[in-house]
Amino acid sequence: MSGLTQRERLQIPRQPMPAQDPEVRRGNFNEVALGFTEELARQEAERCLQCARPHCVEGCPVGVLIPEFIRALREGDMVEAVRVMKINNSLPAICGRVCPQEVQCEAMCVLGKRGEPVAIGRLERFVGDFELAQRTCPLECCEPTGRKVAVVGTGPAGLTCAVDVAREGHKVVMFEALHAPGGVLIYGIPEFRLPKSVVHSEVDYAVECLGIEIRTDHVVGRTVTLDELLEEFDAVFLGTGAGLPKFLRIPGINYNGVMSANEFLTRVNLMKGYLFPEYDTPVKVGKKVAVIGAGNVAMDAARCSLRLQTLRARQTGEEPGEVHIVYRRSRAEVPARAEEVHHAEEEGIIFDFLTNPVEILGDEKGNVRGMRCVRMELGEPDESGRRRPVPIEGSEFEMEVDTVIFALGTSPNPLVFAEAEGLERTKWGTVVADPETGRTTKPRVWAGGDVVTGAATVVSAMGAGRRAAADINRFLKGEAPW
């Protein structure tokens, strides 16, 4: 098939991703998107026009050599596809699943101008999964240099930085506050979007190949401080993410049944609460759940709630209940990926737009029984460029709910900054760092990912980790003194 003309390539439709049926998947935590078969992958790869100056690569925060890996894939040379992929991306099975390709590489694909872009993300996942199963192209590192680098946080930024630094032969030690590495990939993103086995294999593979040491159960700022790390290590990278939940400052947020999306998702994902009582950590949702916010985390929380309700209904024979997304702006402003919103709607999540809670109501036992909400309308654009939601006077109403999950974004956890003098932060609590190099205001300390930008995407954190790693490597070689 590799002898196709451009015209023939243009006639191949974008291959759909095989997925679990919505009716089935709302009752399990298994992965929704099942992955391309080899045939589908080859067919999709044939669509790529192999542009001489590919724009897709410009859209990728880590600069994956997209046309090259797709060419190898359609020529049937999977080992070469993996090799090319890994030049710039050490976690393809993860990125292929959770990157917002529609606003990155695929948004730049020339095919998208007239029709549908090449499904780059699905192909990336196909290559990533092949490699996790086959392990054809282990990462290699240079001769040990004797230099030591501490990477704080084992999420996407930290992992990418650790891999790129370790490849140069430097000894890398990673510090993780929780009991398992992966950061938001483990505690935040649900199993049905990113199976934990994929995260574990991807992390283990990289770590084993490169001799990276991971110290779990280490809370930097408490167990060990940043200044202590600087005594032991030549350089320190902070990739601690944005782990602090935000609650609305309204009355009633401490009633039972009100929680942060962080708590809910950590119980479900990291602690495997959906398998309670096989696993010890309980998680519970009521008959009518309101998730406040409409970002990707809100979609994850809503879809997890729905699954827990469905599983409970199967056991008890009762009605499963309802899950609502309550959002103060309109559909057009929803920050979540279109695909996530689509999946949520398919599964039966109800969207209440232009609605904002002003008070949470409780019963005599201290449990949530409802929310007092106000209808909103869109006014003038605010600093984010989106139209500012304004309450409509006299529109207050009560919504009966028994679980409220706040998914309003997160900010960096300040714990890590205990005893870290000289590390400048913004008024939002994020670390001030050079966007090109990741250098902070404290010598020998780099930072990248959500801890610098505030909550963003997995791949933008990886991009920051990679840029910081490049600068750390230059610094350790003496090419770029502090």
Binding site: A177, L178, H179, Y187, T216, D217, H218, V219, R222, T223, V224, G243, L244, P245, F247, I253, N254, N256, G257, M259, S260, N262, E263, T266, R267, M271, K272, F276, P277, E278, Y279, D280, T281, P282, K284, K365, G366, N367, N413, P414, L415
Partner: protein, 288 residues
């Protein structure tokens, strides 16, 4: 893994274990806690650090068996290991020479109040301690508390040992008899006890430090499960506490939040007890 090197049965339901956790022992201070997890399927629970030996890298934990996790923890023996011990978490107690202070320990709360009393004594305070429990069998560490206190009052709810009284009774008498002398009160124990200690000291306007025991998951400020209302504001016990001014805590909210997973806790406990009985029956059968 974190090896248990020592175990002591303090009462039928209260156990003391010493765990190898050098990274915690290195930094631990009075008033701080750890999060532990028994095994891969285990939940994360906070336990106050009752003592530590920096050089040996050991941390002492004392717990009361109330639910599945603490019951299971109680079955572990020296040589067994915990999957997670992370810390030290939370702010240490603020130890100064305040003058005369009262340390109240109720039930398993005697354990965490001990290092605070010791630190207060070392800082030059006149330490009056009140320890209490439902009955004699639940009391422990009377000798250790006596060693770090200038005065010690022991009471039990049922009068089976010491004075028959709730800890709040001798506390109230002290506050009345030595008005103006007592500079500060520490109280650690069940939430309901800390609530009533706070109510007792409130009319006397004596600062009352309590160490809260809310439900936690990560223990680092990430989940917010442990939040309490302090002066009407939501605060996180794990990073803002665990110690707060008792007069500012919304106790009824805390008590209600502690009950949130009660049904699930009951289910987990029953299931575990059932498994234990099955194991025992199987062993018996195998033996016969």
């Amino acid at each position: 893994m974190y090896k248990i090197v020592e175990k002591e049965i303090l009462s039928e339901v209260t156990k003391r274990i010493v765990v190898e956790a050098p990274q915690v022992a290195r930094k631990a201070q009075a008033g701080q806690f750890v999060i532990i997890r028994i095994d891969e399927r285990g939940e994360r629970i906070p336990l106050t650090i009752a003592d530590y030996e920096r050089d040996a890298g050991l941390v002492t934990l004392i717990f009361q068996e109330v639910g599945k996790t603490t019951r299971q923890l109680g079955t572990l023996e020296p040589g067994d290991a915990l999957a997670t011990v992370v810390g030290p978490l939370g702010h240490p107690s603020e130890i100064e020479n305040y003058g005369t202070v009262v340390c109240v320990g109720g039930g398993v709360g005697i354990a965490p109040v001990f290092p605070i009393a010791r630190a207060l004594k070392e800082a030059g305070n006149h330490v009056i301690s009140i320890i209490g429990a439902r009955n004699k069998d639940l009391l422990f560490w009377e000798d250790r508390m006596r060693a770090v206190s200038d005065e010690l009052i022991v009471c039990t709810d049922d009068g089976s040992y010491g004075r028959k009284a709730l800890v709040t009774e001798p506390l109230k008498e002290l506050l009345e008899e030595r008005a103006g002398e007592i500079a500060r009160v520490w109280a650690i124990g069940p939430a309901i006890m800390m609530k009533f200690v706070s109510l007792t000291t409130h009319p006397f306007n004596v600062p009352t430090i309590v160490s809260l025991n809310s439900i936690m998951v990560d223990g680092t400020g990430m989940c917010g499960c442990c939040r309490v209302l302090v002066n009407g504001e939501a605060r996180f016990v794990c990073v803002d506490g665990p110690e707060f001014e008792g007069h500012e805590v919304d106790w009824d909210n805390l008590l209600s939040r502690l009950q949130f997973y009660r049904e699930e806790e009951q289910l987990a406990l029953e299931r575990w007890e059932h498994e234990c009985r099955l194991d025992a029956a199987l062993q018996e059968k195998g033996g016969a």
